[in-house]
């Protein structure tokens, strides 16, 4: 049981990292959209 818990905890930790990376990418795309239009 406890092994399973660590497994899930490990998964959740990985998931938080994935989420953070994806969120940063999304924000980057947002900024790039405005920046590239401005440069036009």
């Amino acid at each position: 049981m406890s092994q399973n818990l660590t497994q899930e905890e490990r998964q959740r930790r990985g998931a938080r990292k994935t989420a953070l990376i994806v969120a940063v990418v999304a924000f980057g795309i947002f900024l790039f959209t405005i920046y590239s239009t401005y440069k036009q």
Partner: protein
């Protein structure tokens, strides 16, 4: 339910009820349970579907005959605009997110979504955004009346004051979508049962994973577009105003860079749903699983390089038109592969036609018709005659109503018995199916003729040679609209008093991990991840593993 599922470790048998949902209304406000949130999404989407549908009824009633009978042109434009926005952002997208919330953890053997609290937040933004969007109707000067594509400068310099509220609502809807997508990516990437490989995943999970990446890439672009609109309107910038050195066509490029992936965001999960349903009722593994995955991925990639086929008439250089024409018609190759795979899955199966299968078959046929008109629209020189006519209206309603919406209805009929442990009334469901599928064609098929005969879209009144087909279309519209009253009754009576089912499998030969948990699906599932042999034997796409 302020606890996360990891706190439930003492709950050895998740089928027991002593860690069930909180009582009362607050359960729904505070919930972090993927099934609760899925339910919330689905009811929200259904409510918005009815509101957006009511607006469609206003549109069809005004178009019943030439002349203005019911609403002024300005209000008519508000109806077309809000109908589009509400159906896209309020009905179709949240419905698919709701299905994802319910199904993805069940299908990959995960206890919940990866980020349950964010999941709660991404849902609860929606009702506020929806109310804000609708409230613009009651503001001075009326709501947004510039079409769901809100082209500048009609949406900037020439728009009513309420446009700023519209912008804020779009920001919130986009924020919600991005958070939902982050959650799905993190869940699928990190929370799968440890023994489930990516290529073991059911197709619905695959299509949603790819859709989530589309959302991450597309929604921030929309956010950028409305942000620039906001500063153009209020802070003296001129991104889209030619008088200040900007370019209104640039707005269209940005909008469609979001907008074209957006239409695939609304159809890829539908492909996933259909790929789950057809094998079940054909009693045969899905044909060409890996080609389905690759086709979905290539559609997604292509969707980012074809946006300007919405803009053939904006004065693009000829090289641009050629490139976008070739890239666009290329999309029909992977889309065709999917259709061929579905048909081949049915071929030499042992078919039965329960309601979900009826909807799935209707999807394949009618979506393909929408695909044909899409191919025609993709031919740049022919698009001169089709662009901004009812031909386009017919096209995108075939892919979005008989495509996306039909797949959602199919999914609800398919999975609802699992969710609530009760069977819907099969007889009524069949009546509903035939009622809807006939009326939707009476509604949209004549619109092809209207477009070819020269009727532009987004007009409240029209020349008399368009009268026949408009009247037919309106009659079909009222019939199709009323079919949703029957659907509401079928769903509510199924949940409240449908015949209880005990069978875990529900459908004779359904495969997938979701069919291995008890019926109705318990509040907590897969606290123990499923083992490898179970994952493989439940795989709906691999026959003799």
């Amino acid at each position: 339910m302020a606890t996360t599922t990891s706190d439930v470790q003492i709950d050895i048998d998740a089928h027991d009820a002593h860690h069930g949902p909180e009582k009362g209304l607050l359960r729904w406000v505070k919930t972090t349970n993927h099934k609760d949130i899925g339910t919330l999404y689905l009811w929200f989407a259904f409510t918005m579907l009815l509101i957006g549908g009511a607006m469609a009824m206003v549109i069809r009633a005004e178009l019943f005959q030439p002349g203005l009978q019911l609403v002024e042109p300005q209000f008519f434009n508000q109806m077309t605009t809000l109908h589009g926005l509400i159906m896209v952002f309020g009905a179709i997208m949240p419905a698919f997110v709701g299905l994802a919330n319910w199904q993805i953890p069940l299908m990959i053997g995960a206890p919940d979504m990866a980020l349950p609290r964010m999941n709660n937040w991404s849902f609860w933004i929606l009702p506020f955004a929806g109310v804000m969007l609708l409230s613009t109707l009651f503001m001075k000067g009326g709501g947004p009346a510039f079409g769901w594509t809100f082209y500048a400068p009609l949406s900037t310099t020439f728009a009513p004051e309420s446009t700023d509220f519209f912008i804020f609502a779009i920001h919130m809807l986009g924020f919600s979508s991005i958070m939902g997508a982050i959650n799905i990516i993190a869940t699928v990437m990190n929370m799968r049962a440890p023994d489930m490989k990516l290529m073991d995943m059911p197709l619905f999970v695959w299509t949603w994973l790819i859709t989530a990446f589309l959302l991450i890439a597309a929604m921030p672009v929309l956010a950028g577009a409305v942000t620039m609109m906001l500063t153009d309107r209020n802070f003296g910038t001129s991104f889209f105003d030619a008088a200040g050195g900007g370019d209104p066509v640039m707005f269209q490029h940005i909008f469609w860079f979001f907008g074209h992936p957006e239409v695939y965001i609304m159809i890829l999960p539908a492909f996933g749903v259909i790929s789950q349903i057809i094998p079940t009722f054909a009693r045969k593994p899905l044909f060409g699983y890996s080609s389905m995955v690759y086709a979905t991925a290539s559609i997604a990639l292509l969707s980012f390089v074809v946006w300007a086929h919405h803009m053939f008439l904006t004065g693009m250089p000829i090289a641009g038109q050629m490139y976008f024409m070739y890239a666009t018609i290329m999309i029909s190759v992977p889309t065709g592969v999917k259709v061929f795979n579905w048909v081949t899955t049915m071929w030499r199966g042992s078919l039965t036609f329960e309601t979900p299968m009826l909807w799935a078959i209707a999807f394949v046929i009618l979506f393909t018709i929408g695909g044909f008109s899409g191919l025609m629209l993709g031919i740049a020189p022919a698009d001169i005659q089709y662009h901004d006519t009812y031909f386009v209206v017919a096209h995108f309603h075939y892919v979005l109503v008989t495509g996306a919406l039909f797949s959602i209805i199919a999914a609800v009929y398919y999975w609802l018995p699992k969710w609530c442990g009760r069977m819907y009334n099969e007889k009524l469901a069949r009546i509903h199916f035939w009622w809807a599928v006939i009326s939707v064609n009476v509604l949209f098929f004549p619109q092809h003729f209207l477009g070819l005969a020269g009727m532009p879209r987004r007009i409240p009144d029209y020349a008399t040679q368009f009268a026949d087909f408009n009247m037919i279309s309106s009659i079909g519209g009222f019939a199709f609209g009323s079919s949703f009253l029957l659907l509401t009754y079928i769903i509510v009576s199924c949940i409240r008093s449908g015949e209880p089912i005990e069978d875990e499998r529900v459908w004779e030969s359904a495969k997938g991990l979701e069919w291995t948990v008890a019926t109705p699906a318990p509040y907590h599932t897969f606290n123990e991840p499923p083992q490898k042999d179970k994952i493989l034997s439940e795989s709906s796409h691999v026959g003799a593993h």
